[in-house]
Amino acid sequence: MTIHHRESFLEGLADQLGRPRKTTVEPPAYSVKPQERVLAGASPDELVDVLEKQCEFIHTSFEKATVETLPQTIRAILNGNDVTRVVAAGGPRNQVSGMDQFYDQLRTEGLEVLVWDEQQGREQVTFAEKAGAGIVFSDLTLAESGTVTLFNDRYNGRSISLLPETFIAIIPKSTLVPRMTQAARLIHSQEAKGNPVSSCVSFVTGPSNSADIEMNLIVGVHGPVKAAYIVVGDL
């Protein structure tokens, strides 16, 4: 049995509410929808500008690149942080973006690069823990808050964006949307179509931080200490 004590529990709630159990509920019509006006009608370029501005507030470096210049942009970030071990998300986007060749190139230069592969199992977590940088593709990018949405899956392990000290997000310009409203709408419509949501949806906004000691902002607590976003114009 995988659901315990449900019926008596829910009967009790219905009793408290003074009515029989509900088996259907009409979706409510709320009186206002302020979320739909935020950045409504903004062009892709305007969304990039909003994202760039927001990066200043979330302690995240911001770069623009093309598929052609992406490798050198990432290389500069790796060099700047003395990274010698890299863990990266796998999947078809590495071919489209030319990242596969770039990772091969890094290997010939002596860096250790692990491209996430479901066949390889848990050792990858151990590798990620020792890696200096984790590289992922943003699935949806929320301009307003500067948030990279990751639908973690077999290609994009949860550890890649979590364990290494530096978090690098490749942001295809085509993934930019105004805010979380659009991400929620997409997930909701996919659910309704019977396409279940990823086991872990991570909305990541910059590096980890805490204000638990005398309200001082400390950037870099349990998760990454540094974050870099690269918007790729032609992806």
């Binding site: 659901i3 709630l13 979706p27 973690n152 550890s159 979380m180 872990c200 000691i213 349990h222």
Partner: protein, 475 residues
């Protein structure tokens, strides 16, 4: 721990708070920063009142149909390979989690921040079963090492200064560094990394469950909740039964309200929505997932005039504007839920007996109600609590009853009233200096202990008015 913390009386707890200069200064500066953060985030977003209305409507709709949405949630979690346990009481919830820990032969359990697990005393229960429990939120870890309860629901160690924290780290963990916050945090990172990697079970709370898909959403900044749910093989999430929204679109709205109202952020560093067990081909994430839905007194609030207290999204905005909290701090409330929402919720969840003083820990200024992102009428509920305490529970103090009786008698006789207003100035003159009373007698003492009281005027307003009218008619 349970909802109630400590055994001291209300008066003693307040005195401790007032005497703690560091804490009071820290609280007052934190309140200022939280408040500014919230107001500027709200202004930047625009239409804040509309957002509040929407938040309030979502919460109201959810509570009115709570049985339906909890049913839907449990169906979805089951579909995604998880197990759901509905617990009427704290004991049932703890026993279930203990049972899972036994089955897994768990030695180490790592936790992310959760108020409901504090409320039900889960840590103590697991420790009794021989498990090592490690809190991984920086503030909670500090408190756990120091065996101290939280004093704020968002920044639980607000009452501690860096030197105290350094000392705790030195004594409990052999720390040798300075009291610089960055260095202290780096030490916590290094220590807790080992725990994340070696834990058998990860325990989380739940900011919002999403009924339509079975997701449990965690709103955090440090990244510890992601660690707790990515690395151990078993994940147990514990949620208060009201912490649920119908759809992802509702989730997005309440999260937007929560992060702004709590810390003035557009979104926190991590909003993580976890659904069931890891899917085939996934390397990290839990193989086994359990969701524990906790009532523990909440259902008694449903269908009553206090139902909207269940709308709370735990942002602490009310705490951050409360003038009483500012002066007495979180521990004075004697509850893990402090501030205005704590004063409303605690007596509802844990009864009036131990918490009858809390509804009086308010000036009724209404700042809490104005700050609440989901429009809970907090100060009105506090007044209602007071009425119930006096009229239904008969728990008002004896002195108050005698005084009110006396007042009624006195004020209903105009001669007595007139005489005393006339006499007041003379009667209090021994305690008066420069028109102010600094150390008043009897009932005035409570006031004048911390501030001066203006001496009664020599002449009452009525007699002054009478004289003036007389003068005017003579002119």
């Amino acid at each position: 721990m349970s909802i109630k913390i400590g055994t001291k009386t209300y008066a003693d707890r307040i005195q401790d708070g007032i005497d703690n200069t560091f804490m009071r200064q820290a609280v007052s500066s934190a309140q200022g920063r939280f408040r500014t953060g919230r107001l500027s985030a709200a202004e930047e977003l625009g239409d804040w009142e509309e957002w509040r209305t929407l938040g309030s409507e979502i919460r109201q709709h959810t509570m009115e149909n709570l049985d339906y949405y909890l049913h839907q949630l449990s169906e979805q979690v089951e579909k995604r390979g998880g197990t759901v346990f509905f617990a009427k009481t704290a004991e049932e919830a703890n026993e279930y989690v203990q049972k899972i820990a036994r089955e897994k032969e768990a030695k180490k359990i790592v936790k992310s921040k959760s108020m409901v697990t504090e409320e039900i005393g889960l840590n103590e229960a697991l420790q009794e079963s021989g498990c090592e429990v490690v809190e991984s939120d920086l503030g909670e870890w500090i408190l756990q090492l120091d065996e101290d309860p939280p004093s704020h629901i968002v920044t639980p160690a607000l009452h501690k200064n860096r030197e105290q924290i350094r000392k705790t780290f030195v004594e409990k963990k052999g720390y040798t560094g300075s009291d610089q916050p960055e260095e202290l945090a780096a030490f916590a990172r290094e220590q807790l990394r080992k725990d994340f990697l070696s834990a058998d079970i990860g325990v989380t709370g739940c900011n919002f469950a999403v009924a339509e898909s079975g997701a449990v959403t965690l709103v955090t900044n440090e990244g510890n909740a992601r660690m707790v749910t990515a690395l151990p093989d078993t994940q147990i999430s514990v949620m208060g039964m009201e912490r649920i929204v119908p759809t992802w679109q509702d989730l997005e709205v309440v999260v937007s309200l929560l992060t702004r109202a709590a810390v003035g952020q557009k979104l926190t560093s991590y909003i993580t929505a976890l659904t069931g067990t890891k899917l085939e081909g996934e390397v990290d994430g839990p193989e086994d997932f359990h969701l524990v839905v906790v009532d523990n007194g909440r259902s008694k609030i449903l269908g009553t005039e206090f139902q909207s207290a269940l709308h709370c999204i735990r942002c602490a905005a009310c705490i951050n504007v409360c003038p009483v909290y500012r002066h007495v701090g979180g521990h004075s409330y004697g509850s893990i839920y402090p501030g205005p929402i704590g004063a409303v919720l605690t007596p509802l969840l844990d009864g009036y007996e131990d918490h009858k003083d809390l509804p009086y820990a308010s000036t009724l200024c209404g700042a809490c109600t104005e700050a609440c992102p989901v429009k809970i009428p907090l100060h009105e509920q506090l007044i209602r609590h007071r009425e119930i305490i006096i009229e239904r529970e008969h728990m008002g103090s004896k002195a108050e009853a005698v005084m009110m009786k006396g007042y009624a008698k006195w004020a209903s006789h105009s001669a007595a009233y007139k005489l005393s207003t006339k006499m007041a100035h003379t009667a209090l003159s021994p305690w008066t200096t420069d028109d102010y009373i600094e150390k008043g007698p009897g009932p005035l003492k409570g006031w004048t202990d911390s501030r001066d009281f203006p001496a009664p005027a020599k002449q009452s307003f009525r007699s002054w008015y009478k004289q003036r009218e007389k003068r005017r008619s003579n002119e």
